[in-house]
Amino acid sequence: MNSEITRLKKAFLFQGLPDEVLEALAQKMTHQKLDKNRPLFHRGDQGDALYIIEEGKFKIVREDEQGNEVVLNHCGPGEAIGEMSLFDQEPRSASVIAVIDSEVLELKRDAFFELLDQRPDVSLVLLQSLSSRLRFASTYIQKAIVWSKKSAEGDYSFMDQIQPEQAESDEDKAGQMLSAFFHMVKGVKEREENLKEQVHKLTLVIDEARRKQEFEELTSTEFYANLKLQAQKIREQRKDKS
């Protein structure tokens, strides 16, 4: 049971719930085994359950216009699938298929609501959890807007001010988005620098007409003609000495 509670805590929806509630939730969950290549659910199915992967690996897939399978993501042990469907009952937006023999914990929507009927305080905790995540996501979005504007103006200074931990955090979707954004800007900056390098590479251009003209101006004087003669003489003298 303890391991199930630990697993439940990983689902963002349940973070912040007291252990006794999590235990009650765990009791309402059922184990389900899936052989390799078996679907957990299909795209378009009505969402009526949350799953937490215990063992194995799943792929989240959609079909493109030609009907070819496109893998959107992979999920492994501890990750939760379909959390929001507990509330919104929207049809599944993608299919989820076991890549290897796998095992999940299933929490049906009805069982979840049963618990909420018994424990109204849990609803409040869930609301708090959702609202803090919303605020968190809004902050990130706000940042992404500011950074997008700066990037568009060619000002990448904000990248130096960000802690790498913050930028590379992937503990949640907002963090992942930020991380992806950060990498995108980094890529753009690098490409830009490479382009600049190419511009530098191309700058050794010599104006040959001007070169010829300046050379002629310098060498057409009497001083130069004498110098040239003298230089030859000096070189010969020095050759004789050595």
Partner: protein, 262 residues
Amino acid sequence: MGKIVSIHSFRGGTGKSNTTANLSAQIAMKGKRVGVVDTDIQSPGIHVLFGLDETTMGRTLNDFLHGLCEIQDVAFAVGEHASQNGAVGRRLLAGYNLWLIPSSIRGREISRVIREGYDVNRLNEGLQNLITEMKLDYLFIDTHPGLNEETLLSIAISDILLIILRPDEQDFQGTAVTVDIARSLDVTNLLLMVNKAVPKTYHYEELKNMVEKAYQAPLTGILPLNFELADNASKDLFSLRFPDHPWSKELRKVAAAILEVQ
């Protein structure tokens, strides 16, 4: 017979004096007998790098040009004075054979030489005598930037001409003209050096290929833009003070290229 090495740049601000002073020091420390002549009579500067100022400077190149003394009387033995002047890098020159022939920094003497001019032939004879009398292996000539009569003379009499350029359009153009002049004056050993290259802005190998192709001469070093060198404000010889700095490492490549010339 010692070799005359002229250090030249088409425009000012390429770091010519700093390069000349550091190269001559590096080569002296290889056990060679080295002289450095400041022929930038209009705006002398290299003496500062060797720790000379108005109070310590004795006779100058100007005195020689005006017929007041022999050129070897002007030579300041840097190695003999190195232990007395405080700079950490310069002190390493103690005991080495390095002489500086400074230009006067007195306004009156500078204006006199500009007003009256001087006999370019006398300068030439002086330089040749200096090599013989002091048994020099190398005589470095730090010139005024651009192509005037003195710089043309220094190019004409040089065994090795090192042209310093910055990686920019104006220097690329000016260097082309200097290279043509050097070829016209039969300079046999033409070397190039890039200074003040902004790190990471250029692909060094490509810059080298491009420069060598354009001028048909070896690029012996690409020295980075060096803020520490600017900070050093000519107080010391940078490559001796900071031998592990990238600037110093590249400078030693240039020194090695000069030593390789037969």
